[in-house]
């Protein structure tokens, strides 16, 4: 910042990160947004950094108060939308007119609200947020008590992996939306593996997880039970990838079909 409160071009370039974090004062924000229209470098940087910043948001998700849903949906029915973005959009009022929220009781529900698993949104979000843990997290809400007990037993193991100093995450999703994610500690040879978007299995079939290493037969790391994450240990540090196949109940000694999902392990510290 110069003496006269005017910022040089060079200073403006450096505002991408504070902008992505919403850490600019209003006048700076306005100036920087003007700058963005002509600066490709900052535009690209802001886009990447904003995606990073948004990742911080995912860990804060919390169920919204139930009454809020009725209020918002009622307001939507009574609120016109802005004109097409092609025309100049009218400025947004800072506060919505008081009548929008009203004090009237919400209209009676025509049908029971669909019960969504509490954090199911995050499962969908992985496409954008690409967080392995989001899917880990999503499945928990839909479990039965039995599964929850298993999950609790697992959760200690999971916590241990998360706490490993070298724990890292990666995931992969193919064009058909089939995904596999892992959080792994290469040093400890342990990992949490999640699947998503694989669809329902025919009865009598399971998803089996395999560890792939150079010049060695695939080794089974276990069978998935529904959408529960698989916690595995004893992974060799020269492992190159994980693969998932569909196998008959009880699993197979060696894969009997083509992998339906695969994930390279280099980015989480294996094979180095």
């Amino acid at each position: 910042m110069s003496l006269f409160g005017r910022q040089s071009k060079r200073d403006l370039h450096s505002l991408a990160a504070p902008y992505a974090l919403d850490a600019l004062e209003p006048h700076e924000r306005a100036r920087f947004e003007k700058h963005l229209r002509t600066c490709d470098r900052c535009t690209a940087e802001v886009r990447a950094l904003s995606e990073d910043a948004v990742r911080l948001a995912w860990s804060t998700a919390a169920p919204a108060p139930l009454a809020m849903r009725d209020r918002v949906l009622a307001a939507v029915r009574n609120t016109p939308q802005e004109a097409s973005p092609l025309g100049a959009a009218p400025p947004r009022p800072h506060h919505l007119p008081a009548h929008v929220w009203g004090t009237e009781p919400p209209p009676p529900r025509r049908r029971a609200p669909r019960m969504r698993p509490l954090f199911a949104p995050l499962a969908t979000a992985t496409a954008a947020a690409a967080l392995v843990v989001a899917s880990l997290f999503a499945v928990q809400a839909t479990r039965t008590q039995d599964q929850l007990d298993t999950a609790r037993a697992q959760s200690r193991e999971i916590a241990n992996i998360l706490a490993a100093p070298d724990a890292r995450a990666t995931n992969e999703r193919d064009a058909r939306g089939r995904g596999i994610g892992v959080i792994a500690s290469a040093k400890e040879g342990r990992a949490i593996v999640t699947l998503s978007g694989l669809g329902d299995l025919p009865s009598g079939r399971v998803h089996q997880l395999w560890l792939m290493r150079p010049d060695v037969q695939p080794r089974s790391l276990g069978l998935f039970q529904g959408d529960t994450p698989l916690v595995t240990s004893g992974m060799n540090d020269d492992a190159t990838s994980l693969a998932v196949t569909v196998e008959p109940n009880g699993g197979s000694a060696q894969p009997t079909s083509q992998p339906i999902a695969q994930l390279a392990l280099k980015s989480v510290g294996f094979g180095e």
Binding site: A16, A17, P18, L21, A23, L49, P63, M68, A75, I183
Partner: protein, 180 residues
């Protein structure tokens, strides 16, 4: 249906699509707003405004510039930060006038929901940052301070804070993983 497609339908005035979108994003929006604003009543108010704004301004969403979820959470964060700053300014005014601030001090967000693993993983990755990177990022993103205020709080030059913010976010990206 994913948020991107829903948002496009919402822009066309589809109320059913909005209901579905609400199911997807109300939790993340509310949670984020509450993390920043803290006061439960105000958080609810801001979250409502954000969700209604989605309805009103869905046409502004440009799929070419990023994902719908990122657009939505960016919007929610912006509104939350605006609110917490004006509340702070009001508190300071009251204190200057010798009045007792009537905003209850929530040093911990009430009724924490077990965001469990998700939260743990972000925390894990935040811990991998240097202390200055972490504080620069979280004071701005979670507490809504401007980078000037962050610089003041950490007694750092402005340029250093900007750099720490950028490096912190970049490193966080590497740790969180999933970047194809």
């Amino acid at each position: 249906m994913e948020a991107d497609e829903l948002l496009v339908r919402v822009a066309g005035g589809d109320q059913k699509a909005f209901e579905e979108l609400y199911g997807l994003v109300s939790g993340p929006v509310f949670g984020l707003v509450r993390r920043v604003v803290r006061d439960p009543a105000q958080s609810e108010e801001v979250a409502q405004e954000v969700l209604l704004e989605l309805w009103r301004s869905a046409g502004r969403f440009d799929p070419g510039r990023g994902s719908a979820l990122s657009w939505i959470l960016t919007l929610a964060h912006r509104r939350a930060v605006d609110r917490v700053r004006s509340a702070r300014a009001a508190t300071e005014r009251e204190q200057r006038e010798g009045m007792r601030a009537h905003h209850p001090a929530f040093d911990q967000v009430a009724e924490e929901v077990e965001a469990g693993l998700e939260r743990e993983w972000v925390r894990h990755c935040l811990e991998r940052l240097t202390s200055l990177q972490r504080q620069s990022v979280t004071l701005a993103y979670y507490d809504g301070y401007t980078y000037r205020e962050v610089a003041e709080q950490l007694s750092l030059p402005l340029g250093t804070v900007k750099t720490r913010m950028r490096d912190g976010l970049t490193r966080l990206r590497e740790c969180l993983g999933g970047v194809a």
